[in-house]
Amino acid sequence: MSEPAFVRFWGTRGSIPTPGHKTRRFGGNTSCVEIRVGDLELVCDGGTGLRELGLDLLQRGRQKIEAHFFFSHMHWDHIQGFPFFVPAYGPDSELFVYETSAGDDRVQKLLHGQMRSEYFPVEFGDLGARITARHFEQDVVSLGSIRVRCFEQRHPGRSFAYSFELGGKKIVYATDSELDLLLENREQSLADRDVLRRLPDALVGFVEGADLLIADGQYTDDEYPKKVGWGHARANTVADLAHQAGVKQCAVFHHDPMHSDELVDQKIQGATARLERLGAKTLLFGAREGLELKF
């Protein structure tokens, strides 16, 4: 029997941190999700939630912290936590950052860049940890028993989804993707919100059968028309993707910074009702900080 995978949400907010009483339940930290399999520590994105993860890792009492970072892309809300990731300052830490193709160095460059002295008092080169770049080969990389695949998404400046497969289990992290620009029946779906929004086969295949899909569903249907081209999806479109791909559980992620907990609840209720109308078996919920799932 394979080892269980634990998935924990450390930051679920999109765009900018939103602390305060209105966002307590779903959380105000920006994107960061931990996937833990035995001693393997995988981190999806380094938004402000990464700071809390770093502190928690130190409390777990390991002699040496080794972590593997998969960045969806390098917009602020996905990298701002990295300079505050305390294990990066420890000489016993070893961090791996993954670039999505051979020869690419965008992740390393931008992690360096955001720590230039104009932005931050400690330079990247002064971090104590050993930080090494690794590259996907033809969209695949293996980590022990985990097979990781990447998939390019539609987002300003490019973004990537990642699929983590191990022992028959599949977890997909797919944030910052404007699914609505990919729809095969886009015009029809904008005119008639109830019609099934058909996603391309390649994307559906990438997500297919996932035990957990973590997907950007920032907007309601009403909000989206004013935000076309900003790189984010309607929660209802995520529901349709989950249904078409036969996803078991779908965590709607990257909550809009303008959304209070009550508004996120409404967004999730709407998407859940849509799945029920479709006769889908997917369980959909709003990703929230501090929730840990086991697979």
């Binding site: 307590r24 559980q249 900080e289 501090g290 840990e292 799932l293 086991k294």
Partner: protein, 113 residues
């Protein structure tokens, strides 16, 4: 209030504590304060809160208090722990969250400010 039970003995119930309101399952309705740093719920006598249900593991779930924050962790139970309908290994809890273990359902109430 009728149905209130100070299950965790030896601690004053008047303190401003987060509480679990049991709304379904054997013994419901009742409410108890999370007075201990860790409160284990299960069907076994080793649990701090014992509920006579065959669907519960002996030590099913632990609720932890850390200042005003309440978290829970599944203690490798047979039937799992569901927070607002999602099967959770652990979770940070908030006002109004529903927690289901077997046929037992709780609603968490945070400590009054």
């Amino acid at each position: 209030m009728a149905g209130d039970v100070a299950i965790v003995a030896g601690l004053p119930t008047s303190r401003r504590l987060p509480t679990l309101e049991q709304v379904r399952g054997p013994g419901a309705p009742r409410r108890f304060g999370l007075a201990l740093a860790e409160t284990v719920v299960g069907r076994g006598t080793q649990a701090n809160v014992t509920i006579d249900s065959a669907l519960l593991s002996r030590r099913h779930v632990v609720f932890r208090r850390n200042g005003p924050e309440v978290t829970l962790s599944d203690l490798e139970s047979a039937n799992g722990v569901y927070v607002n309908g999602v099967k959770a290994h652990s979770a940070v809890l908030h006002e109004g969250d529903t927690i289901q273990i077997g046929d037992v359902v709780f609603v968490l109430h945070e400590a009054p400010a």
